[in-house]
């Protein structure tokens, strides 16, 4: 199945520039592993980075720098031994953060068929995995900031469309949605947000706050 929802070009440019935080870079790069089209865009933005580097001023290196580097060329290389890769449907770089089996993750269950697994924070951005049972949904909410969601398995649907493996959704405070997991298998997504969700329902809001959701 081909990917329908892609990261915006300006996000791919920032990723290529190295200006996105680690959590945002993780979700973009995991999408890239699944999406040849966006890899092509990133390669072009990196070519712009190369052109900017060529156009940069020259700052002379310390005297002896060239000689020092030339003398180190024969140093034995510290090559990382290639990691043994079990068959897995978790693509790198996400696999380095969560392991190669989404089934082995220890989820924290909250109400209504939703579980989550916090991963890490980088700056204001927080990365977590969210699992929804078929037909389960995260209540109607909006976002205080930007949120990116990458579908890893199963699928979900909201007012903006249907999302399956590899699809990346970007939401901003003006999007009010109630994502519902499609029927069939569990829906697992990687979510990165720079502010907590804003729930319309007070009960859900309290639960979410309690879990740091």
């Amino acid at each position: 199945m081909s990917i329908v929802h892609h990261p915006a070009d300006e996000l791919l440019l920032s990723y290529a520039a190295g200006a996105t935080d680690e959590a945002t870079s993780l979700i973009v790069a995991t999408h890239l592993a699944l999406c040849p089209r966006c890899r092509s865009t990133v390669a072009k933005a990196e070519a712009a980075g190369g052109a900017l580097l060529e156009a940069a001023d020259s700052t002379p290196l310390s005297s002896g720098a060239l000689k020092s580097v030339m003398s180190r060329l024969t140093e034995p290389e510290r090559m990382a031994s290639p990691a043994l890769r079990a068959p897995s449907n978790v693509p790198e770089p996400l696999r380095s953060y969560v392991g190669d089996d989404l089934g082995a993750i220890r989820w924290t269950s909250i109400a209504g068929g939703i579980s989550f697994k916090p991963l890490f924070k980088s700056g204001a951005a927080r990365a977590q995995l969210i699992r929804s049972k078929p037909g389960a949904g995260v209540g109607l909410h909006t976002h205080a900031g930007e949120e990116f969601t990458l579908c890893l398995s199963g699928g979900y649907t909201d007012v903006t469309g249907q999302y399956a493996r590899g699809d990346l959704q970007s939401t901003t405070p003006d999007v009010l949605h109630r994502p519902l997991a499609d029927e069939g298998e569990d829906c697992i997504v990687l979510a990165v947000s720079d502010a907590p969700l804003v729930f319309q329902n007070l009960g859900i809001a309290l639960i979410a706050k309690w879990f740091g959701f």
């Binding site: 072009k44 712009a48 696999r95």
Partner: protein, 177 residues
């Protein structure tokens, strides 16, 4: 420079590497200084970047990127690691879950003659507004929200300027997507 880098990869040619060093190391040092490294760190990291160029040169594919693009990605990853002290998540083409292109596209990312020069020229012709946000992305480590705050612009304006700049870059490099 691209042919020289390919030679370093194929033959471990020290003389070719020396030319690459003289050309790229001072530019990489400027890049690192602009991104917040002090002079000593920028010097060390520029040397480290060039050592990485030597060590990884075998993996360089001149059909996919020019030397400057490839050196840029090495310098970028080194500075994220050393200055920002974060990991740089990247995809791995050898990963079993990696989705390759459906059919090889021989012409897809071939670096065409003169492409580098045309790209440099196109970048100098960006509008001042677009050039500013591109510079802040590549040389100041600023995500969209921070650019918006510092320039006092709506987030949407920053994004649309970057999007337009990206459209220009794609236009020069051939937009098959």
């Amino acid at each position: 420079m691209t042919a020289l880098l390919a030679t370093v990869g194929a033959k471990r040619d020290r003389a070719a590497f020396e030319i690459l060093f003289v050309y790229f190391a001072p530019r990489v040092k400027s890049y690192l200084l602009r991104l917040g490294a002090n002079a000593a760190l920028a010097d060390d990291l520029a040397q480290e970047a060039m050592l990485t160029v030597w060590r990884k040169a075998e993996m360089f594919d001149p059909a996919k990127a020019s030397a400057s693009t490839w050196v840029f990605t090495i310098a970028r990853n080194l500075r994220i690691d050393a200055i920002r002290r974060e990991r740089r998540p990247e995809f791995d083409p050898n990963d079993p879950a990696f989705v390759p292109e459906e059919e090889p596209q021989p012409d897809d990312r071939m670096v065409r003659d003169g492409e580098d020069a045309r790209l440099r020229e196109a970048l100098t012709k960006l509008s001042a507004d677009q050039a500013q946000v591109v510079q802040l992305s590549f040389f100041a480590d600023k995500p969209h929200s921070q650019i918006a705050r510092e320039l006092g612009l709506p987030l949407g304006t920053v994004k649309s300027r970057l999007r337009l700049a990206m459209a220009r870059i794609k236009a020069v490099l051939g937009d098959e997507t």
